[in-house]
């Protein structure tokens, strides 16, 4: 009887190892296959429709050397961060303000929720009309796109804070400001961070898309400009760099999140 279950254990353990090995090999294999497919596809489709990966690589190198790539990235990032800051500030401040005026909050809520349905990107031409062709319309876009998830997360978080905790704090003599700070803020931190994880990459995407429509600098501009000049290699390069940028930011956020919140029990409802 001891015989068959240690056989089972051993079999299980070696199976797990084989699995991990197979998965890693599979991933590398798939990655290589995709690169090969890209090369083959590029050769077949011709230089107008597809850029050869080697050319793209060379372009990345040459653009990096000349500093133009870095310049575009910096511009996009600056836009993203500025817009992010604006959106975050309002997204956090407004719910706390509304907390003090519950009647106003109830009256305004349906309109805020309805405004979520307006596709913000569609507003860009209007912003260009109103605010000109500099950074302003793009900042508005990024700000709005960051504002909504942060606002909703903070608003919902405040609402769901345990009434008992608040009442207890009141009884103990805490001022409203202190209650806001200690009780509510701490309770909604996890929701806030989840919203941030969504909002920051969104900010970068929004900056890039804004640059499609207006401006003469930045990654988005680089992509669209290349397209208009039928410079397919430029288009591919821009998209690759933009994608890499967003993915790196995503990964960094996940790492940070894990580091700071390692002690928290994972709430399954908060993950996608």
């Amino acid at each position: 009887m001891t015989r068959h279950e240690s056989e089972l254990d051993r079999a299980e353990r070696s199976q797990v190892k084989w699995r991990k090995y197979a998965v890693t090999v599979g991933r590398i294999g798939l990655g290589v296959a995709l690169l090969v497919a890209w090369k083959v596809g590029a050769d077949a489709a011709g230089p107008l429709y597809a850029a050869d990966p080697i050319n793209v690589f060379q372009r990345i190198v040459s653009d990096s050397m000349s500093g133009s790539l870095l310049r575009h990235i910096t511009v996009t990032l600056r836009l993203s961060v500025e817009g992010f800051a604006i959106g975050c500030t309002f997204g956090v401040a407004l719910p706390f303000l509304l907390r003090r005026m519950p009647r106003l909050a109830r009256a305004v809520e349906p309109y805020i929720m309805a405004s979520v349905g307006v596709p913000k990107y569609a507003l860009v031409p209007l912003f260009i009309l109103w605010f000109g062709i500099d950074d302003a319309p793009k900042l508005w876009l990024v700000g709005l796109l960051v504002f909504y998830p942060v606002f909703i997360a903070v608003f919902a978080g405040i609402r769901n804070v345990d009434r008992n905790l608040i009442n207890m704090a009141r009884v103990a003599g805490a001022s409203e400001a202190m209650i806001s700070r200690e009780v509510i803020w701490n309770a909604l931190l996890p929701f806030f961070f989840t919203a941030l994880k969504i909002a920051l990459p969104r900010a970068v995407s929004a900056a890039i898309i804004g640059e499609f429509l207006v401006g003469n600098e930045g990654l988005g501009y680089m992509i669209e400009y290349s397209r208009q000049n039928f410079d397919t290699t430029g288009v591919f390069t821009g998209i690759l760099v933009a994608t890499a940028l967003v993915l790196v930011i995503n990964a960094a956020l996940v790492r940070l999140d894990r580091h700071f919140n390692a002690w928290r029990p994972i709430d399954r409802d908060m993950a996608l």
Binding site: M1, T2, H4, E5, L8, D9, E12, R13
Partner: protein, 265 residues
């Protein structure tokens, strides 16, 4: 009245797999042997954590054993290797678990019909049987309700008749009435006995409640604490039909209860 052994358990042992490099885990069940006769209502009592649910899982073929043998209707059942398990042993073993495990997206009637659907036995006769069982446990009128619209007791009843509807030769029950209030529990115990009387199926009923074990069973096994073994076997001669609510007043109850309680310690 020579009763036939429907299910034989011999020297059953179980311990859970140990992680690499750690001590082998303790035996949960060790050298457990007993027999279940055809048409018998067998109750099994034991303290919590004594491996009762594990035992039933092994009998129902959803968990492996580390040793021993199980024979159903004189055929040996595969128990050593996960891959060779046949849950339910081709629908010969029914299993009413502690949680009702009703499919939330099916109505009461659809849930009761579920095993028939899956066994491709859905026809007019089996439908009629399902309806009869629904009426028998007082769920008439709730056929088109979803589980979330039913009370805990009603869901229990539905899960009970869901197993009864396809009439397996032997039915395992794992503290099915444990989570209910006393009133509902008594009602369901009566319903169960009444339904059992109609067909005199073989039932293995696990509970931690000695009163319930005596009220329902023909014979009661007592399991010892971990590692579980048969600590004792008690024949219950209180005549049927039994008065569930008044079982404790029956003269034979007290001594039987004492004998069992002493062993459960």
């Amino acid at each position: 009245m020579a009763a036939e052994a429907l299910l034989e358990v011999r020297s059953l042992s179980k311990r859970f797999g140990n992680r690499a490099g750690r001590e082998p885990s303790p035996w949960v069940i060790q050298e457990l042997s007993f027999v279940v006769n055809e048409g018998e209502f067998l109750t099994i009592v034991g303290p919590s954590g004594s491996g009762k649910t594990t035992l039933l899982n092994i009998l129902a073929q959803i968990d492996t054993a580390s040793g021993g043998e199980i024979c159903l209707q004189s055929h040996a059942a595969p128990i050593g290797n996960f891959k060779s398990l046949k849950p339910g042993l081709a629908c010969k073993i029914g299993y009413v678990t502690q949680e009702d495990n009703l499919l939330p997206w099916r109505t009461t009637l659809q849930n009761v019909l579920f095993p028939l659907t899956v066994q491709r036995r859905l026809n007019e006769d089996t439908r009629a049987r399902a309806q009869m069982l629904i009426r028998a446990v007082g769920l008439a009128g709730f056929e088109n309700h979803y589980p979330h619209e039913l009370s805990g007791g009603m869901r229990k009843r539905a899960s009970l008749i869901r197993t009864l509807v396809y009439d397996p030769p032997i039915i395992l029950m794992d503290e099915p009435f444990g989570a209910l209030d006393a009133q509902t529990r008594a009602q369901l115990q009566e319903d169960l006995l009444r339904l059992w009387n109609l067909g005199r199926k073989t039932i293995v009923f696990v509970t931690h409640d000695i009163v319930e074990a005596i009220a329902l069973g023909d014979r009661t096994l007592v399991l010892s604490r971990s590692p579980a073994r048969v600590a004792g076997e008690h024949r219950n001669s209180i005549p049927r039909p039994r008065d569930i609510r008044g079982i404790m007043i029956h003269p034979e109850f007290a001594p039987l209860y004492q004998r069992i309680r002493v062993q459960v310690q």
